[in-house]
């Protein structure tokens, strides 16, 4: 008896929801959580890019919305922000020379996006702008705000274009898949030249085109083992590193002479 009653209420509620969607929402709001299997990724000698899988769950999903596929998720892996100079070559006496340049503050070194559907199908351009979501909506802060908007726009576009061309900014449409009603899996690409440092993974939940919630986690990307040691030594003990490089060269030259001598 009781069971039948609740069933009936649910039907009534969902009917109501269909009729007046804005007012009759279920009090429980949806949430999103993501988890990384590891909080650090090490780049080794053979690193030639990789896919990073991020698992996440949807809290309190509305089964009806879920069944109709109206939940959308966008997962972003954002590299550490760094200032960047964009330079443009122009012809001077026939030779291509770097002439104009524009410096931008806090540009994420890398920016990989994975989505359930093409970005334009998920929500409107305006909400992407507000969320500063997606490589083409990232706000790039020019160091010199006095430059003309046209120039800034031109260099911003060039910056995005170069970043995508080198694989640092990427988009993986269909990279987020629902494994069940609550569980999803996102696959973001790590470019071969992925920068080291603290990366931020963020997941955005949309319901019927409306932004609901965001969740984030941190990921440390670093060089491991041999390469990491060399890099660290080169920067902290640069004099000794230089001496080592010279000794290695002299030793190689001497050994090469011993082994391969032909006179």
């Amino acid at each position: 008896m009781r069971a039948r009653n609740t069933f009936a209420t649910a039907i009534v509620l969902s009917l109501l929801a269909a009729a007046v969607p804005a007012k009759a929402q279920v009090p429980l709001t949806e949430g999103i959580q993501i988890g990384l299997s590891t909080d650090n990724v090490s780049i080794t000698a053979g690193f030639s890019g990789a896919d990073l899988t991020i698992f996440g769950s949807l809290e309190n999903p509305d089964p009806l919305v879920a069944r109709q596929g109206r939940y959308d998720i966008i997962v972003v892996l954002e590299g550490p922000p760094k200032p960047v100079v964009v330079r443009r070559k122009d012809r001077v006496l026939g030779v291509w020379v770097n002439l104009d340049s524009e410096t931008f503050e806090n540009v994420p070194v890398s920016y990989s996006v994975a989505t359930t559907r093409p970005l334009q199908d998920i929500t409107e351009p305006n909400s992407y702008k507000q969320l500063s979501l997606g490589a083409s909506n990232l706000y790039m802060q020019p160091a010199d705000a006095g430059d003309s908007p046209a120039t800034i726009q031109e260099f911003t576009a060039a910056l995005r274009e170069r970043k995508s061309a080198t694989g640092l900014y990427s988009e993986n449409v269909g990279g987020v898949q629902f494994l069940s009603q609550n569980l999803f899996r996102a696959t973001v690409r790590l470019a071969p030249n992925v920068p080291v440092g603290t990366h931020k993974a963020r997941a955005f939940l949309f319901k019927s085109g409306l932004f609901i919630k965001e969740s984030s986690a941190q990921l440390e990307i670093r060089k491991s083992g041999f390469e990491q040691s060399i890099f660290r030594v080169a920067h902290t003990y640069s004099f000794l590193y230089g001496v080592f490089a010279i000794s290695l060269a002299m030793l190689t030259g001497w050994l090469g002479r011993l082994i391969f001598r032909r006179d």
Partner: protein, 307 residues
């Protein structure tokens, strides 16, 4: 097989680098030059950032020069005193070059400057050498007696003060041009990542009239130290020396150099010079084309605040 370069921060193919080292080593052994003028452009063509290509090129030059000097020491074709004076000038020039290098890098004009220097210098040296060696080849073919350099033949350089005697080179000459030449080579070494043999050798022969047989050994001897100094300064100020990259190039290079030296002994001097001239000109032309051809990407990115 890929390998990750810790300083250049990119993955490259290990065999491409070994082969590149071996090919350049062979040529450098054959012509008695360090090969830096070939390595640095090749690395740049292979997408290694120019700043790292230059610093690592200087590092690699040490290995091939050591290898070469050892064989010259055995033959006694090395003037230590002349090399020492050249070196003193080289240290000064190299120091200046490092500052110019860091300055240009900040300005974003380093790549252009490196290419321009390569085109101008390689073009000039290659052109002059080609003309000279073709004339020499013609002269020998027509049967005319080769014009031998007379010891009494002097130019304005030999009238400068502060003369010094260099026994092994049978030379009595002012130290000013020697120091100046050393400084110029040192400057180029730090900006271009070259040992400077391709300029040093003709300059010693044509300007200072050093006997050809001691020129190569002496030039290599001083290049070891100028390049070592350049490597050290690049390592400390710019952190642009990649030992993994350098080692791969050296390993290929020293092997190739010994075979090249053997091959070089079978060719006559002017034939060797004509071939070297053609090679130098080819690199210059290749780099010049890049300067004039519309680049595929007009825009480039670099980290701001880089020194």
């Amino acid at each position: 097989m890929g390998i990750y370069l810790p300083i250049a921060e990119i993955s490259v193919n290990i065999f491409v680098l070994l082969a590149m080292g071996a090919a350049v080593g062979f040529l450098s052994g054959m012509f008695g030059v360090g090969g830096g003028f070939l390595i640095t452009p090749l690395l740049i063509f292979y997408n290694i950032p120019p700043a790292i290509a230059v610093a690592t090129g200087a590092n690699q030059v040490i290995a091939s020069s050591v290898s070469g000097v050892l064989s010259h020491m055995k033959r006694g074709t090395l003037d230590f005193k002349l090399g020492g004076v050249l070196l003193a000038g080289g240290i000064v020039g190299s120091t200046g070059g490092i500052y110019v290098f860091a300055f240009l890098r900040r300005l974003g004009q380093l790549d252009l400057f490196i290419s321009l220097l390569y085109v101008v210098l390689l073009g000039t040296v290659g052109g002059l050498m080609l003309v000279e060696s073709v004339n020499a080849l013609r002269a020998t073919r027509s049967g005319a007696a080769p014009v031998l350099k007379k010891s009494g033949q002097h130019n304005w350089i030999h009238r400068l003060p502060l003369k010094m005697r260099f026994r092994a080179s049978k030379l009595f000459v002012s130290v000013i041009p020697v120091l100046g030449l050393g400084a110029g080579i040192g400057f180029l070494s730090s900006i271009m990542g070259v040992g400077g043999g391709f300029i040093m050798v003709p300059a010693l022969i044509y300007l200072l009239k050093v006997p050809t047989n001691v020129v190569i050994g002496t030039s290599l001897f001083q290049i070891i130290f100028t390049s070592a100094y350049t490597t050290l300064v690049h390592a400390t100020t710019n952190q642009t020396v990649d030992v993994v990259l350098a080692f791969l190039l050296m390993a290929g290079g020293v092997a190739g150099a010994q075979y090249g030296a053997k091959a070089g002994q079978r060719l006559r001097g002017e034939q060797l010079r004509a071939l070297l001239a053609l090679l130098v000109l080819a690199v210059a032309i290749r780099l010049a084309i890049d300067l004039f051809v519309t680049p595929p990407n007009l825009y480039s990115l670099s980290a701001a605040g880089l020194n």
